[in-house]
Amino acid sequence: MSANPANRSRLVDLGLRAYVVLAFAFVFAPIAASFVFSFNSDRFPSIPLGQMSLQWYQAVASDPLVWEGLRNTLGIGVIVGLVSTALGFGAAYTDFRFKFFGKQVYMALALLPPTIPVVIMGLAMLAYLSRIDLSGNALSVIIAHVVICAPFAMAIVRLRLSQMDADLEAAAWNLGASEWKAMAHVIVPFTLPAILGALFITMAVSFDEFAIAWFVSGLNETLPVKVLGFLQGQVSPRINAIGTFVFVLSMGLVIGAQVLLSQKSKE
């Protein structure tokens, strides 16, 4: 920010502000529309709006299929978050601590999964998991989601570790901490905000992920897969209600992660 207003052109300033508002409007307008229509009593989304109503939420809440999907989604999301954060932490620490032959290849491979098109990933997962008799259940969704979530967790933890004074761990050893104690008393406390952030983000990714889950979930459909089922049957404002709920949940997780991560990097 320039402290002296004379250093800034008012026209450019105004233009940039307008640009930011437009960009956010473009991103959030559809979501906002879905949010508004989820509280609208009319069967079809049209203006003027009908009455304010919670009927679609009641309809969703009374549908056992939705509850089953939500249970699957939440259970899978929590497990995926825990497992992929643990794996991501391990990979990030390996990168931080050790130098070894082929390290660049190791890092490239570890970061690769999210760059693979999800349809290809889903198909490959289905083919592979069915071969080893693991397809069509919750475990298969967990495995597939961990594969795409662990790299995110690694990237987040790695960023935090890169902010650490390289002498910190050696200083702990020097003061009498074994490697495990230094891990527990120095590395984990230092990276804790990133670990929690990674946990939230990987959960959010798993909640929202549709394509791979569609391929491998079989009868244990997660909520996004169920939503597609609803859409294929009929267009109902119930979708708006589910969408709003999932959006709030995911945004909550992502905002939580953002708060944790930005707080600590100010140190």
């Binding site: 004074d165 002498d167 910190l168 050696a170 200083a171 702990a172 050893w173 020097n174 003061l175 009498g176 901490a177 074994s178 104690k181 008393h185 120095v186 406390p189 230092f190 804790l192 140190e267």
Partner: protein
Amino acid sequence: MEPLVSFEGVIKRYGDFVAVKKMDFTIRKGEFLAIMGSSGCGKTTTLRMLAGLDAPTEGVIRLSGQPIDHLPTWARDTPMVWQSLALFPFLNVRENVEFALKMRGMGRAARRQKAEHWLDRMQILEFADRNIAQLSGGQRQRVALARSLVVEPQILLLDEPLSALDAALKVRMQSVLKTLQRETGITFVYVTHSQSEAFSMADRVVIMSRGQIEQIGTPQEIYGTPRTRFVADFLGSSNIFTGTVRHSSAQGVEVETPDGPVTLTGGAFAAPPKAGETATLTVLDTKTQLGLVPPGGANAIRVRVIGEEFVGATATIYLETAQGREIRVQKSHDELAGLPLGIGQELFAHWSPTDSHLVAEA
């Protein structure tokens, strides 16, 4: 005095690079030892090997007579004060100081008491519950010292701990360190590139260059009688003359240099050089005199003034010989009174042959 630490033929290689070449020296119990040299000379590697952060490629390091090579860092009692300080940012001052005690399994109450004793001793007890980020540089320095001293070790390693402080604070911390060392009797091993830090605090100084020890001795010994040309050059407080030996006996040496003959008499040297060999004589810049006419006797060199610098009570006069080599003379203002010192002024630099000193060429 019995040796607390001994390095026996210690060598450290990184691939083809030899960081430390064949170190043999001992550290005495209760002394303040400074290891000094320019960056890359192997001083920090030496300290890290003692702390167990690096392993010697060859040789043995003994602590109280016992080899310690097989011990991991955390099993050695060799706490270190880091150049970066390496304080734990997620712990407050008290928790930082308690860390080593906690790792040793000491109970909460005992830990707290001991930490407070050392915080008090370092005069930072009032900051015990602050975060590290809220402290000034000098306060952090004290936390780092308390954190290492809280285990009351036999030996404390310090790796350029004052390098981040401003000049005034540096001087104050030097006296804090010196007093602390004297009062606790803990052996301090202090690595630095700063001559003023090493010479003002240490009982003995080790001067290193390119992985080797150039000289070990008290600050007075090293200053007065640098053993090698490197040391004389590094300290920068001597004028150095190299030439061919003309006469040599147990009583003295005469060396023919491009600037004229220089002689040494009555000095102590182990083996007088042979005539025809190359030899180097040094003389301290404080023992070098200036005059308008050459005095009788030897060691008078014709010079021209090229600059002067006043620092407090003393002045340093920069001179150039006929061969274009630089000579320095350090004198008080009184001693220089009456001497014309304009740039280009022709003078004679001279000194007593008993103030000459023979150094090894290596």
